[in-house]
């Protein structure tokens, strides 16, 4: 069935819409992690893209070295990368407390260079294949389009994770402590809550989300040492557009920009690389604090 819209088949249109949603899911997971980390640590985690890549490699190693498949990877990779994050926070980021926020950016940029450089040395720049798990192979015909099951799963699962994170931070007691510690760490500490531990775990959780996104991306984008390098710049633009003030804001902005990017691929392919940056420029002109940001 073909309904031509501006000479573009519905299959192509919905196909790109789905790809856009998937990219949007990754934007949402990554910018969510960045926002959570920024809220607690006041650090823009430049290593986020590199740790997303490490997450994907974790899945690859688990499968090829230990024979543990996709579902195990979905559980183990975020824990491994989260633990790595805890080590990074305890040994390095913690020493930057009280310094200009820019030093956190510089330190994590250096970490990204190290991590990506090491992986590039051993794996070059080409992609390693990672198969879609058997349960999610194949696709369903929705009438207006063919939906590969795995892609549908990625969108739904990311959405669930994003909403769960939102719920945890905005609606639970732990989240309330977290938000309070963001506002006034010394006061929360005075109430006997271990804020440094909370900060460490927050960083671990944020990079764990990045690793989760990496595992989800592995069957779609292949596993490459530089898979997060350019991606993280787009995520930064997403963060600027959404503003880091709100959890839901990051999620909505992430999905929205993924879709806009997908649509641009249909109607004006040359601009698809830059459309997010153009939107960022427009948002800065109209609402400098970002769509969901509070002016600070």
């Amino acid at each position: 069935m073909m309904i031509p819209i501006l000479n573009i088949s519905t299959q192509a249109l919905f196909g790109q819409l789905l790809l856009g949603l998937i990219n949007g899911a990754f934007y949402a997971l990554l910018s969510l992690g960045l926002a959570v980390i920024f809220g607690m640590l006041n650090i823009v985690n430049f290593a986020h893209g590199a740790l997303y890549m490490v997450g994907a490699f974790c899945a690859y190693f688990l499968l090829n070295l230990f024979g543990l498949g996709y579902w195990w990877a979905l559980l183990i990779a975020p824990i491994v990368v989260g633990a790595l994050g805890v080590v990074i926070e305890r040994t390095m980021l913690q020493r930057l407390a009280g310094l200009d926020h820019l030093y956190g950016l510089l330190l994590t940029f250096g970490l990204a260079l190290i991590i990506q450089g090491v992986f590039q040395n051993y794996f070059g720049s080409s992609g390693l294949p990672y198969a879609i798990p058997p349960e999610l192979q194949g696709g369903s015909n929705l009438g207006f389009m063919y939906l590969p099951n795995y892609r549908g799963w990625v969108v739904v699962f990311s959405l669930v994770v994003c909403l769960a994170t939102w719920f945890m931070i905005e609606r639970t007691k732990l989240g309330a402590y977290l938000r309070a510690a963001t506002e006034n760490p010394s006061l929360v500490r005075a109430f006997g809550i271990n804020v440094p531990l909370m900060i460490t775990l927050t960083y671990g959780f944020g990079v764990g989300l990045a690793a989760l996104a990496g595992v989800l991306a592995a069957p779609i984008n292949q596993v490459r040492p530089l898979m997060g390098a350019d991606f993280i710049i787009v995520v930064f633009a997403v963060v600027v557009i959404g503003g880091m003030g709100s959890i839901m804001g990051s999620v909505v902005t992430g999905f929205m920009l993924g879709v806009v990017e997908g649509m641009t691929k249909v109607f004006w392919p040359e601009a698809s690389n830059t459309v997010v940056f153009v939107i960022m420029a427009v948002v800065l002109l109209i609402k400098p604090a970002g769509l969901f940001g509070r002016t600070a």
Binding site: L96, V240, V278
Partner: protein, 339 residues
């Protein structure tokens, strides 16, 4: 303030100026004599990067703005000056409507000026956007905008995409009296450009304008409350920095006789941060020292592939954790002087 305090602060200023003048004279003499012992092509490259780092330092060191997108100015100026020196056409707009000029291949100095102008214009456009946010947002915005320029350079016809612009003629100056294809001549041409750029930065930082910039770095709300329009000052500093980076990039493309995507990629933006950090943020001579060290390191370690990147990352981490003053900053701190 008492008369005594005024005279002693004037004395400190005079001593500071004397220290800087001596350091500047030593640096100039060393650089003028250097080609006798060090491979001139390396020196020319290092000088271009040194000017790049000094111009970057103008923003981070004296206004407190961390730009993570300065490669866009280096790369764009490199492309424009290489194109002007080799082809010399300007085509903007469609075939029927737009600007279409054909100057033919230009002399290198004019080509460089075109590169500087292009970077300055880009500086106005990107700076006006970026200064709308502060701190880490400023860094992320400049990074995103430079990525946009990267894709522009990848797709625009005049840059030749992945191939870049190759075989840029070095040309002659002053009606053919100065032949830049002579390596020694080229070296002193580059040195002259570097000294001019460095002197401009020094003059700006030590001017009343520079004092306002430093006050914005220290406490922006207070500077605003004193009646300074901080946005205008920040934009002016940004454009000046962009233009000087353009000068470095344009000169670099004439020296290396090519312009490529490397110079506009965000890894280059990271490298200039590293150079400045290693040498010392906010010091006059730090970026020069940092640039020479990083360029030398890249030359010597070129055979080690991606380990260079790992080493750079380690240096980044080490500097941020334990060595935030940088080399020159540390020396100046130990000696109790300002460099």
């Amino acid at each position: 303030m008492t008369a005594h305090a005024i005279s002693s602060s004037a004395a400190i200023d005079a001593a500071k100026r004397r220290d800087e003048l001596i350091a500047f004279a030593v640096l100039f003499l060393v650089l003028a004599a250097a080609p006798a012992v060090i491979y001139p092509f390396f020196l020319m490259q290092a000088l271009c990067f040194a000017l790049f780092a000094c111009a970057f330092n103008l923003l981070i060191g004296y206004v407190g703005l961390l730009s993570f997108g300065h490669a866009m100015f280096l790369g764009l100026a490199g492309y424009v000056s290489a194109h002007m020196a080799k082809v010399g056409t300007i085509d903007i707009g469609s075939a029927n409507f737009g600007i279409h000029l054909n100057f033919g291949p230009m002399n290198p100095l004019v080509a460089i000026l075109f590169g500087v102008a292009a970077s300055a214009i880009l500086g106005v456009l990107t700076g006006a956007l970026a200064i709308r946010r502060q701190g880490i947002y400023f860094a992320m915005i400049t990074l995103a905008l430079s990525q946009m320029i990267y894709f522009f350079c990848l797709q625009a016809p005049f840059t030749h995409g992945e191939d870049g612009i190759q075989g840029v003629p070095q040309g002659k100056l002053l009606l053919g009296h100065i032949d830049l294809s002579q390596q020694t001549t080229m070296y002193y041409f580059v040195l002259a450009i570097f000294v001019v750029g460095f002197a401009i930065i020094h003059r700006v930082v030590n001017s009343p304008f520079g004092d306002v910039l430093k006050s914005i770095r220290e406490n922006e709300p207070r500077a605003i409350s004193l009646g300074y329009k901080s946005d205008q000052y920040k934009l002016a500093a940004f454009v000046l920095s962009a233009a000087l980076v353009g000068l470095a990039g344009a000169t670099k493309s004439i020296v290396a006789q090519n312009a490529s995507l490397t110079d506009v990629h965000f890894a280059m933006s990271g490298e200039v941060v590293l150079m400045t950090l290693v040498g010392g943020l906010g010091t006059f001579f730090g970026p020069i020292v940092g640039a020479f060290i990083i360029v030398a390191m890249q030359n010597y370690l070129a055979g080690f592939g991606q380990w260079v990147q790992v080493i750079q990352g380690v240096i980044f981490v080490a500097c941020v954790l334990a060595f935030r003053r940088g080399i020159v900053g540390e020396i100046a701190h130990r000696l109790g002087i300002s460099l």
